[in-house]
Amino acid sequence: MYIKLIQLQKERSEAMPNKPLSELRPKERGRVVKVGGEGGVHRRLLDMGLVSGSEVEVERVAPLGDPIEIKIRGYHLSLRKEEAINIQVEVE
């Protein structure tokens, strides 16, 4: 039973491609699957509401190509691509 559940999750995750948040283009939406990263950055991302399950939308990329602005939980958050790379997103 438990093994079946894991298999189901695996199939689902294969069907829904996971991408790091840094690779999403403006107006693309997704659901956070996993938040990685080093201690300080990791904690900060969690504090700002980037936990698995939360919906994110990339709003825009800064004029010089970095950082990016995302919409999460009804507010706007900016983060660098090197930080967004730690966030796995299930693209809608």
Binding site: V35, G40, V41, H42, R43, R44, L45, L46, D47, M48, G49, V51, S52, G53, S54, E59, R60, V61, A62, P63, L64, G65, D66, P67, E69, Y75, H76, L77, S78, L79, R80, E83
Partner: protein, 435 residues
């Protein structure tokens, strides 16, 4: 329970949580916290079915636009300085007229008391107080930009550049504050978590031309570059910023190697700044300048008048002056002004005012006539003033913020060395073309 036991207990709990959730405890706590928040919001919050574009979103479409973002940022900074200078002219004229009248009245007393009052106190303090309008207007402009939410966008637009030189988007706010006064700028570095980022940002902050250096620019650019004064003053700011960036890069490659901190921060919705909020900010920063003008500057101008009246000032100036000969301003009056500028940058102008016994209005002419300065010399002198030694109060702040004498002493010497090199280069290379 002693320390050891507490640590052991917490380690055990963490291991327990890890075994249940197969995830780190901080992730579990964050998940639970936001899980609770989402559940609560579902119960109590009704969202409109279609997401509307808010006014904030519309503004951001332009302000942080891919193509317009950077030019708009530069235009915003340029517009800020133009606003400050244009609007402050009439106020400065009034203050000038007031002090001129007072000075004449005091000179009527005659003898040394008359000289102390007219040339020393009224001349010296007057030539500093006249800069209250531009300094306060600059503080006001910064407050408005901060309160309306633009500052966060500025950090967003500039982070790539800051990050390239090894700094952090948050290093940008202390630098912006440095335009008003380096002391709050240096103090604002507290928000930078990474120690390497923090000390680098503290050490380069004095290169950001503070409000106190504005009097020097306004005086010299106004007289020597009359038609292009705004542009020349703007260039001083650009030079300060460029040197700050270069030094940040140098520090990050030598003294402070390693990665810099993160840039995960909110971009708050735009808000109309309240008059009260702006005035509170204005007063917090402006009163610092007034207190300085009231205490340090007042005592300095009296001291200078005394040294001058007794004939001691000139020998001191003549002793230091040769050091500045390669920069083009090897006159003892310039040396004395720079020497006292260590106490507070606005004193440079106050000292000149006392030395030439001239009000701000005619001071530029007096400098040109008596020292034989050309626009090139004035430019080199302004650049020197942008870069050289932070004022006493800033040094004290660096000492407090880094909790050591190492960095303030280092700051005194390295900034002055760079100022001397820059001014010499400008004067010598400029001479090849002009002279």
């Amino acid at each position: 329970m002693d320390r050891q036991e507490i640590l052991q207990a917490s380690e055990q709990s963490l291991a327990h949580l890890r075994s249940i959730y197969s995830d780190e405890a901080e992730t579990v706590v964050a998940d639970a916290r936001y899980g609770f928040i989402s559940g609560l919001l579902k119960d109590v919050l009704k969202k409109p079915p279609i997401e509307r574009l808010t006014l904030s979103d519309k503004i951001d479409k332009v302000v942080v636009n891919r193509w317009l973002g950077l030019p708009l940022f530069l235009a915003m900074m340029y517009g800020m300085f133009q606003f400050v200078f244009t609007l402050s002219v009439p106020f400065m004229d009034w203050i000038d007229a007031g002090f001129g009248w007072l000075s004449e009245l005091a000179a009527g007393i005659g003898g040394w008391p008359g000289s102390l009052l007219a040339d020393g106190i009224i001349g010296g303090v007057g030539s500093v107080l006249i800069f209250i309008p531009p300094i306060f207007l600059l503080f006001m402009a910064i407050s408005v930009l901060e309160d309306c939410g633009y500052m966060a966008r500025a950090a967003f637009v500039m982070d790539r550049l800051m990050h390239k030189v090894g700094l952090h988007g948050r290093s940008f706010i202390p630098m912006i504050l440095g335009f008003g006064c380096n002391i709050p700028g240096i103090m604002a570095c507290r928000t930078i978590e990474n120690p390497k980022d923090r000390i680098t940002t503290i050490l380069i902050n004095p290169f950001i031309p503070c409000g106190a250096r504005l009097p020097i620019f306004v005086l010299l650019a106004g007289y020597f570059f009359a038609a292009h004064a705004g542009l020349v003053v703007f260039s001083m700011y650009i030079i300060g910023i460029i040197v700050a960036i270069i030094m940040a890069l140098v520090f990050r490659k030598t003294l402070f190697r390693g990665v810099s901190g993160h840039f995960v921060m909110e971009l708050p919705p735009y808000r109309l700044p309240t008059i009260k909020g702006v005035l509170v900010h204005l007063w917090e920063r402006g009163s610092l300048f007034l207190r300085k003008a009231g205490s340090i500057i007042f005592s300095v101008v009296v001291l200078i008048w005394l040294l001058d009246y007794t004939g001691v000032l000139e020998p001191i100036g003549r002793a230091i002056a040769p050091i500045f000969a390669p920069c083009g301003f090897g006159q003892w009056q310039a040396a004395v002004s720079l020497f006292f500028g260590f106490l507070a940058k606005e004193v440079v102008v106050g000292t000149m005012g006392t030395l030439f016994a001239a009000e701000e209005e005619v001071l530029g002419g007096a400098i040109a006539a008596q020292l034989g300065w050309t626009p090139l010399v004035a430019f080199a002198f302004m650049v020197f003033c942008v870069l050289y030694v932070p004022c006493v109060a800033a040094i004290a702040t660096i000492k407090g913020e880094t909790n050591s004498w190492k960095w303030p002493v280092f700051a005194i010497f390295y900034t002055t060395a760079i100022a001397w090199i820059a001014a010499t280069l400008i004067f010598q290379i400029g001479n090849l073309f002009v002279g």
